[in-house]
Every structure is written in C-alpha cells, then in structure tokens.
Subunit: 332 residues, 2 copies
C-alpha cells in the first residue's frame, strides 16, 4: 500500500521553516501478526516536537533526518491482525506523519467517543491534559487561596492548568499574547486576572498588580522575559513548574537573563522541570480524574483545528507564532 | 554593666568594608527573671549575614542600622535568673556582637563539651552542620553510586556535605578556590575528585571529566559561573540544592547568566532554595545523627579561628575572599 508521508528533510537552526519538511510517497510493509493498520484522522502538533528536531540530549530521542516526523495521533483501524482490535475502532498513539501507518497493537489505545469527541484524546484527555494535571498537582501542589500564574495560558496545557487551579480554590492569573486569547480566558474560562504580555510595557508591575499576595505557583510554558517578571514576584516557598520554554526553543545561542538562584534561595522556592512520562505510573489516576471532570462539565476545552494532511508543517509552525487558541489539531 | 558592642553603621552597596561597622560602649539593662547574662566566648560569622545587611525581603529580617550585628554565638553564663541554668554553663544561641549580653533563657541551649569542643556547636553540630544535613538528605536525596558535586566545598557547610555524601556511598567532587583547600579536601576528607576553579580555564570540561556519569546532585554554596559549568553537566532527574550564592551576595546590579530553565526542563531536574529553619521540626533528628557520626568519628571538622573580639568585622569580611578553611570562628 502506497501512502503519503512527511519527513524531516533537514535540522533547523533557529526558527524552523517549511523547508525542514518534505512530502514523499512510501510503500507500507505487509501487516504482521500483532499489528494493526490505521488511517490517520487527527494529528497533534506540540511545542516539544521542536526539541526533537535538534540532535541533542533530551528526554526523547531526536527525529532522524529523512524519516517521518512522529507525534500524537488518532486513526481508524482499516485492517487488523490483532485480536484486541476490530476494523473501524478508533485508536490513539504515537503516529508517523503519514496518511496510513502500521502499529504494534500494544502501542495504540482505543478511545471512547461516547465520553468526549475524538480530538479531546489529543488534548484534555491526552498528553496536554495529563501534563497539566501532573505538573500542577504533583509539582505545583496548589493550596486553596494561593495564587497560580500561568504563562502560555491560552495553550493546550495552560487552559487545563487554569481550570484545575480554579477547582482547587486558587486565584488564577493567565498570561497570553493576543486580545482574542485574553478574552477567551476571561469570558469562557473565568480566569480571575489576565495579562496580554504584548500590550504591556512593564510585565513585572502587571504581575504585581494581578497578584497582591505574590505568586505561589508559576506554571511556565513560555520562559524568557515573561518568566523573569513572574519570578520577580514569587512568594516564600513558591513552586515554579517548568513545563515548556517555547520562547527559547528556536534560540540559536544560549539565551541569557537575570540569574534566578538568589531569588529562589531567599524565597526557599522550588523550580522543577518535568515531562509527562515522569508520571506514567500515575496515568490511570490522571485519566480517570480528567474524564470525571469532563463528564461533570467541570472542565471545558478549546481547540484550533486546521484541515488537510499537507498542512501539518503549517499547523506545527503556527505554534511558534501563537496561532492556536487551546490545542492545535490537524484534521486529515 | 558596660560592654563593648559592634553595630551596623551603614548598609553596604556591593562588597562591605570595615566602614560598615562601628564599635561602641553600651550599658546592659539589669537582669530580669527568666534571663541569663553571658560572656561571649565564640562567634560564628556566616555568608548569610551579608543578606541581612541589605534592607530587602528575605527569609530573615534585615539588621537595623546603629544596632548590633547578631549571629550564632557561644557564651559562658556569668549570672542567671533562670532555674534552668547555672553559673559557668556554656550555652549557644543567637548572640549580639557584644562582649557580654542578656538573653531570655528560652533562647539559649546548653552545649555538651564532653561530646565535642565548644566551637563545633557553631559548625558541624550547629547551623552549618544542620544545613548540610537537611539540604543534602532532604532536598538532594543522594542515592548510592550517584555523583554529588559541591561548590564552596572547603567551607563550613561544604565539608560536611561531602562527608555525608561519602557516607551515603556517592562519588564526591569538590570545588574550591585555593591549592591549600584542594589539598585539604583530598588528603583530609578523601573527596574523590577536587577542582580548583581558580586554576582552570574551562570549568565545564573539568566538571565533565570529574563526573563521567554526569552530576546527580549539585550542592551549591557559590552560584555564578561555577554553577553554570556544573549545571551544564547535570543528569536526568538531577537535584540542585541552593544553599548559598556567595559569588553574588555583593553584586550591585542584577547578575545575568545563561538561562537555566531549558536545561532543567530537558533533564527533568529540580532546583530548590532553602534555609535551615525550613526543617526546624526535624532539628532533633539532625542533631542526633550528626552527634552520632561525630562520636563514631565518621565526621571530621575543620575550623579557621581568628582571635580577638575587635576582629569580628575582619573575620566576617574574610568569608568573601575565601580566607576560611572550614568554619570561620571568632574566638573572643
């Protein structure tokens, strides 16, 4: 079977462009016992994938040049040689950027579209939702009445973090980069305070005004000078959850900034980097709780859906110019 | 009773000098019920005291101008109006820089000079020892076979951290700033590797060579570019214990350096600032364990003793030019 796939044509230096991707035709191998063949329906594009385009030590192996990009995806089974799956089952897993693909049956999971629409399993009920859940609750450990600040608040992870923090009785302050996102956070997600970092000349003061009792938990998706402004306002025993640093992913030189250690030291504060798979032993707990909240309508979700397999690179690149409200999804 | 005392005459900008201190005569108030009068025997001078000379939010209140400097001290009771103490008892506590001083009996503790010499209670069996114990074991959580790197390794806290890490079966790498200190760490304290940061042009490579399996725990007393070099070599799930930042205490501008968040993020690493009093509920456990190790001769100690009450400012200022091997003590 001939399929269309998108490979990494070269490693980017700095901000990636469409030149880093190449579409080609590929012949799938015959299905083996224990495998399933899927037709791709949805792909997840996520900021962490930028890191895999570099040839550097990180928590996931780098993509290989001339091989397909791989990311979260949802597909429909069109052929199965595994007793665990039937034709037409919808499954999620790590999918190569290809119109059809072959998977070991043990690497995909069925999804329940009665509970939530399919793309939710790439967002609030997938990696971003679990990232929000574990990062906030296991590292941030917010207590009732505390102030939680979120950068990249209108992104796939940020909007879940904010809602969970509200469920825990916290004051929630969101930072985002457009009036449209700010309006969404305020009107649809009821954040207590919102700051458009592109519309202020003094972030440090904006944070101070929005957080009269200082910042107890900072959930950081962004990094850079936004984080400097937040960290200048942390409280004693603050927890800084490092989830993403999208402002820095495309840096070609080592970015510099104010040294943070004196602030962390004088505030007895914690800063912890993580990746969701650190918590894999707790995934079932996380999924159960998130599903429960979705079912009870305590958690809402927001997606930006771009259509057309060929637009995968465009959807991915859009993450770095803030094109998405909520989760960026590519619908095939 | 007239006593000599040393007050803060003005707040320093940058590196403090002797001009920040003034010696004066002071008349002690009459002893009240529940109080003891002590003659000072030893004073502890510690890097954290630099922070208290600033008028800034921190974990301890700033010193007041024209009032005595206060720090750890040991005194002999020369008059008591508390049934808990007798004349000639040796006690430790927070002492003003004065030849004699009055204390509420509840704020001083008797010391046991059978177990260890008096100055030990300002060092290995005092605040620095507890700082090493809790910072390393409660935040650093070293596991057998892991690599522990210590900056300011020849200081009051560093030499205890290194020995405890060795007791826990770790590979211990110490960084210090003179050949004499390096020799002491190697010959007297049996550190596995030692690095004189003043004698190398490429700290990053020195750390890499000394830590073939990367750095699992970094116990940081120093900050600045030494820390940059260590953090460039951290392992996945590394723990960075922020105990001191002596390289930065006298900065007059916000120091800048490479942003650490990308490294912490891609390594799922933790950075935690602390002060020993965060662990006050566990002090008795810490003291018991440290005393036990001292008794069993599993922990040794090193002191630099300067004599003469009037030399208190000089002893304190010497901390910032690395004059001390081990704990800096002023003997009255």
């Amino acid at each position: 079977m001939k399929v269309k796939q998108i490979v990494l044509s070269s490693r980017p230096k700095g901000m990636p462009t469409k030149d880093q991707f190449r579409t080609e035709t590929f012949t799938l191998p015959a299905l083996q016992d224990g495998e399933v063949l899927t037709k791709a329906l949805y792909f997840s594009v996520d900021p962490y994938m930028r890191g895999r385009m570099n040839d550097a030590k990180s928590y996931v192996a780098p993509y290989k040049v001339d091989e397909p990009i791989v990311g979260g995806g949802i597909g429909k089974i069109i052929e199965t040689r595994s007793s665990g799956f039937q034709k037409d089952d919808l499954v999620q897993g790590f999918f190569p950027w290809a119109t059809e693909s072959v998977h070991k049956a043990t690497t995909v999971q069925k999804i329940d579209t009665e509970l939530a629409p399919a793309p939710y399993y790439l967002g609030i009920l997938g990696m971003p939702g679990l990232t929000a859940y574990f990062g906030l609750l296991y590292i941030g450990k917010p207590k009732q009445g505390e102030t939680v600040v979120i950068s990249g608040a209108a992104g796939a992870v940020g909007i879940v973090v904010g809602q969970i923090a509200k469920l825990k009785g916290c004051r929630v302050v969101g930072i985002a980069g457009s009036d449209e996102k700010i309006k969404m956070l305020k009107d649809e997600f009821d954040f207590h305070e919102v700051i458009n970092y592109k519309a202020t000349s003094d972030m440090r003061k904006e944070i101070k005004d929005a957080c009269p009792n200082d910042v107890d938990v900072y959930f950081d998706n962004v990094g850079g000078s936004i984080s400097d402004a937040v960290i200048a306002n942390i409280n004693f025993h603050a927890r800084i959850v490092l989830c993403g640093q999208i402002a820095l992913y495309n840096s070609t030189e080592v970015p510099t900034g104010p040294r943070l250690q004196p602030m962390l030291l004088t505030r007895s504060a914690l800063m912890q980097g993580f990746i969701v798979s650190n918590f894999k032993d707790h995934f079932s707990e996380g999924m159960e709780q998130l599903s429960q909240w979705v079912k009870e309508k305590k958690l809402k979700y927001e997606e930006t859906i771009i259509e057309g397999f060929d637009k995968l690179p465009e959807a991915f690149l859009g993450l770095f110019s803030g094109k998405n409200k909520g989760k960026m999804i590519l619908k095939v």
